[in-house]
């Protein structure tokens, strides 16, 4: 038994190192083979682009841990951007962003209410919401990109600096820290793990399981709102097609980071690793000047590799008998 436990913790340690190892390997490969990858400016680019994805993925991770999924993020940030840009001239930048972010949080609240209390399947709710919110954003904007007056205050979130560090990176660090804190040190986060692992058991243990699910969607709405605000400020515009495949990108981030989609597991570190891998990859394919076809094929290969590598040992164990059988 003790050896078993030792081995188990060795595997746990191994997988923990593995989580960090994969982005490291990607980083080293990029440094070695991608021209001009290793420069302060470029790394800042990687991080800036990655930070938006990372913040949104923090929200997706919370939802995945509680056993749900959110496809509607792309439309939520679009609606946010449109509302913000429409309100900015009359009501001031701060209030406009506040309202825009409220819209995204509201979208999360809507998702959460429908899923937790009406027991609708998350897959369909967020899918329907993806279309409804996009329709609303189009209706509000007349379908066209709306431009914000390029005031420094409007652009600060996306391109300002705090102590020499770009604001999005600062916010992303804050977002990751708060996700880590939520997941590890709060009753709410613990509730997500419990509910995501076994909803019935959570109810029977006297936990407010529904509220926990709702909370996850609202928190995800908050992260999504933050990402959307940065994105809006960065492009200085409100558009129905701001980041259409944000939801898929965030799911890919979580999957690459090793967060399973059936709930109950996940950590902030995994989100960071997933986001870094995707951000580096996106940057590398442009620096390598690959055609879009190869960009996509490479992306598919990396996702597959990232998902398959960690479970290589179990796969090998599962199929050893095939080889054994042949040998005998």
């Amino acid at each position: 038994m003790t050896t078993f436990i030792k081995q188990r913790s060795a595997i746990a340690l191994g997988s923990r190192i593995g989580v960090i190892a994969i982005p490291l390997v990607v980083f080293i490969v990029c440094v070695l083979f991608v021209p001009r990858f290793l420069s302060v400016d470029n790394l800042q680019n990687v991080l800036r682009v990655g930070s938006i994805l990372l913040i949104a993925a923090c929200g997706q991770a919370a939802i995945l841990i509680v056993g749900g999924i959110d496809f509607s993020m792309g439309s939520a940030v679009a609606l946010l951007s449109v509302v913000t840009v429409i309100l900015a001239p009359e009501h001031g930048v701060a209030l406009a962003f506040a309202c825009g972010m409220c819209v995204a949080v509201l979208a999360g609240l809507c998702n959460g209410l429908l899923i937790a209390y009406l027991k609708l399947p998350a897959f369909l709710v967020t899918l329907g919401m993806l279309m409804v919110l996009h329709g609303l954003a189009s209706l509000l904007s007349g379908g066209m990109p709306l431009d914000a007056a390029p005031s420094p205050s409007f652009l600060w979130l996306g391109s300002g600096h705090v102590a020499g560090i770009p604001v999005p990176i600062v916010l992303a660090v804050l977002a990751v820290l708060s996700l880590h804190f939520l997941l590890r040190y709060t009753v709410a986060g613990r509730g997500w793990f419990l509910v995501g692992t076994n909803f019935n058991a959570a109810v029977n243990a006297g936990l407010p399981a529904r509220r926990s699910v709702l909370l996850a969607y609202v928190v995800a709405g908050l992260f999504c709102a933050l990402a959307g605000a940065i994105l809006t400020s960065r492009v200085g515009s409100g558009q129905p097609n701001l980041y259409p495949d944000l939801a898929f990108a965030t799911i890919a981030v979580c999957a690459i980071g090793g967060i399973p989609l059936n709930g109950g597991r996940g950590s902030a570190v995994q989100v960071v690793c997933g986001a870094l891998i995707i951000a580096m990859l996106n940057n590398a394919v442009v620096l390598l000047n690959l055609t879009s076809a190869w960009q996509q094929l490479l992306m598919a290969a990396v996702i597959a590799a990232a998902v398959l590598l960690p479970q290589l040992h179990t796969v090998r164990r599962r199929y050893t008998h095939l080889f054994k059988g042949n040998a005998q």
Binding site: M144, V235, Q239, N282, L287, S292
Partner: protein, 323 residues
């Protein structure tokens, strides 16, 4: 008995009545023109649909606007055209998602006696009643000319070429490349992105290009939205002076960019005018009049100085227009 019957069924009966009267109103033959375009989320098609709609209200015909919801939704557009054929509209104006792909269904429409007018990116059919076009190739050419001059014939160029597989983006890119090759042999096209087809993606891609290509002097952009993304990246990294941007289309965004001297020029179609012309042709064709085979409205090159003098009514829908 009868009374209770009526009381119970009052609401449904009323509804039925409304429905019947609706049927009646449709029945009164009103000329309907179908207007099918790839996307009503792009300034180009919005402006053109404004022209068509404005003209339709003047002519007193009903306009059925359909958007395929994106440049790549060919099958959706074919379905929409099938619906229009089924509805026996008087004529159809088509801005094709893909000229070759919609040819069959357009021929089908013509066989059923519905004249089809191509607009801007026309279906690749022999049987069109008329084509209203601005020359996308020419728009690319104009970008090449003004960007080439702005770069003084030297340096590297990267292309935000727009979505793959669309006639308009393909033609513009072709015109641009060819003209550069002919007139500015000193300029190299070093990169081309077809995945970056919105502002955010253009912004990210441009940032990466700035890292990769030290000698980057110019950026071609297929639409003003992509240009805005590129300009944002240049502005943030302080490369606005060094790297020139050219674009196509006209909209509030484009005007802002031009006025601020952030793009050197925009090649523009008289989009609203196209919409109007297409609708006039459609009405004429629906009434079995003979129409001109090709109506070509020249593209315009607008630079910062010209913004004030351009007749905006011909190129852009008013700001408050919602399709």
């Amino acid at each position: 008995m009868m009374k209770t019957f009526i009381q119970t069924w009052r609401a449904p009966l009323a509804l039925l009545g409304v429905a019947m009267s609706c049927v009646g109103s449709v029945g009164a033959e009103e000329l309907a023109i179908g207007y099918a375009v790839p996307s009503l989320s792009q300034s180009f098609w919005i402006s053109s649909s404004f022209g068509a709609e404005d003209e339709a209200s003047k002519e007193g015909v009903k306009l059925i606007k359909l958007s395929a919801g994106g440049d790549s939704n060919v099958a959706q557009q074919i379905s929409q055209l099938q619906s229009l054929i089924q509805r026996h509209v008087g004529a159809i104006v088509v801005g094709a998602t893909n000229g070759d792909a919609v040819r069959a269904v357009v021929d089908q429409a013509v066989r059923q006696g519905i004249p089809v007018i191509g607009i801007s990116s026309p279906p690749n059919s022999q049987h069109l009643a008329s084509i209203v076009t601005a020359d996308h190739y020419d728009m690319g050419r104009m970008q090449a000319e003004c960007l080439g001059e702005a770069m003084q014939g030297q340096g590297d160029v990267a292309m935000l070429a727009g979505p793959a597989g669309q006639a308009w983006s393909d033609l513009r890119a072709q015109g641009f490349r060819q003209t550069l090759k002919d007139k500015f042999p000193g300029i190299n096209v070093v990169a081309e992105s077809r995945l970056a087809d919105n502002r955010n993606a253009s912004l990210n891609t441009t940032e990466d290009w700035l890292q990769r290509f030290a000698n980057l002097k110019g950026i071609y952009s297929a639409t003003e939205d992509m240009a805005a993304g590129a300009v944002a990246a240049l502005r943030a990294s302080g490369h606005l002076e060094q790297v020139k941007v050219s674009t196509s289309n006209f909209s509030p965004t484009a005007r802002e960019l031009l006025v601020n001297n952030e793009v050197v020029c925009s090649s523009v179609q008289q989009v609203v005018e196209q919409g109007r012309a297409a609708l006039r042709l459609a009405v004429a064709a629906a009434n079995k009049q003979t129409v001109e085979k090709v109506v070509s409205l020249p593209a315009l090159k607008i630079s910062a100085q010209d913004v004030a003098t351009v007749n905006l009514e011909q190129v852009m829908a008013p700001a408050n227009y919602v399709p």
